[in-house]
Subunit: 226 residues, 2 copies
Amino acid sequence: MMEIQHISRQYNQELEGVKNKVLKMGGLVESQVEKAISALIEQNNELAKEVAESDDKINKIEVEIDKKCAQLIAKRQPAAGDLRLIIAVIKVITDLERIGDEAEKIGRYTQKLTSIQDDTNMYAELFRLGEQVIAMLRDALDAFARMDVEQATKVAQTDRQIDQEFDRVSRILVTYMMENPRHIKTMLKVIWCARALERIGDHSQNICEYVVYFVNGQDIRHTGLE
Amino acid sequence: MMEIQHISRQYNQELEGVKNKVLKMGGLVESQVEKAISALIEQNNELAKEVAESDDKINKIEVEIDKKCAQLIAKRQPAAGDLRLIIAVIKVITDLERIGDEAEKIGRYTQKLTSIQDDTNMYAELFRLGEQVIAMLRDALDAFARMDVEQATKVAQTDRQIDQEFDRVSRILVTYMMENPRHIKTMLKVIWCARALERIGDHSQNICEYVVYFVNGQDIRHTGLE
């Protein structure tokens, strides 16, 4: 009896350990995205360089967590709920890794933008989009941490606002390009950054959807209000 | 003894079944990408509409395979190699689903492009990029089907050529935009399509990397040439 309790405690600790690793990875990714946005808005070349070069760390954590998940499955043979958690983890870290990629891209475009030394200051237009994306990512990670279906559903819906803001920014940038054709090349880099932000919104939405999908699968009786 | 053989045969059949489902999904995704490219190059509104509206089917298959994988793990408690195959499957179908998303986007942009009825014919510039992307996706799926590390490594490297072709197309489109600022809006849609194609290359590269990663993990002794 004591032995079973001991094994079960260890198992739960291992599951918690994986979840914590994901949250640690999430924190790192969030910080990368924040830095990428700051670098872009403030045209900070140093910070952009830092972001562009530190994606490796995130990739390594993804591989590490994948390995840990495989070990857990092989060793513990988890049943329904726990297994779904592990599969959710495997999916979520893929999205986190891709968010890291997008942050890296923003870093690289920002480095190019700072070297051009353009004075259009159009990247300032991305400020609100950046704020919205950071908030969405943070809330998605929070919903994952608490496996909160209600919050996940709510957060997933904010992606629509991000798409709208992206459209608004695009329109402004296109108008600017039409009036200043010689700045087209520069403006395209700004648009790519906006697109990268919009993608981070998509990935955050995916994270939310995995929370909903797996929690609902796990215990469908407690999720509906019917 | 007979019983064990029977169970083992059934298990192998189930594993093969999952792999075949992935290949079926891959075939469907490949056909969507082909249709999306044809619709774009030929400015075929009907075909574009078809592509833009049939992404649901791919999404459903992804959910179905995810479920089947979870069932297999719970029921069969697979060990190292088989488990890694299942995890590879879970990862690969995420990329396939995202490729479907990109095809859908191309379909939607093409619908808009055909409604504009522009006569710039710049989308013809995407022909080679489209050919390269289709070939890469096909080869990546083939490497997955045969779990061929050597081919997967080779295919993964072709992503560089796709990036170069994307850069070439971008330069042409930017030059055109600078000379014809009133076509900027239309050209941006063409660039988004090019970007979607370049993304499909990225996802194909991911598929190859999962093949390498999981096969190498499975039996590292037979992979190197040292």
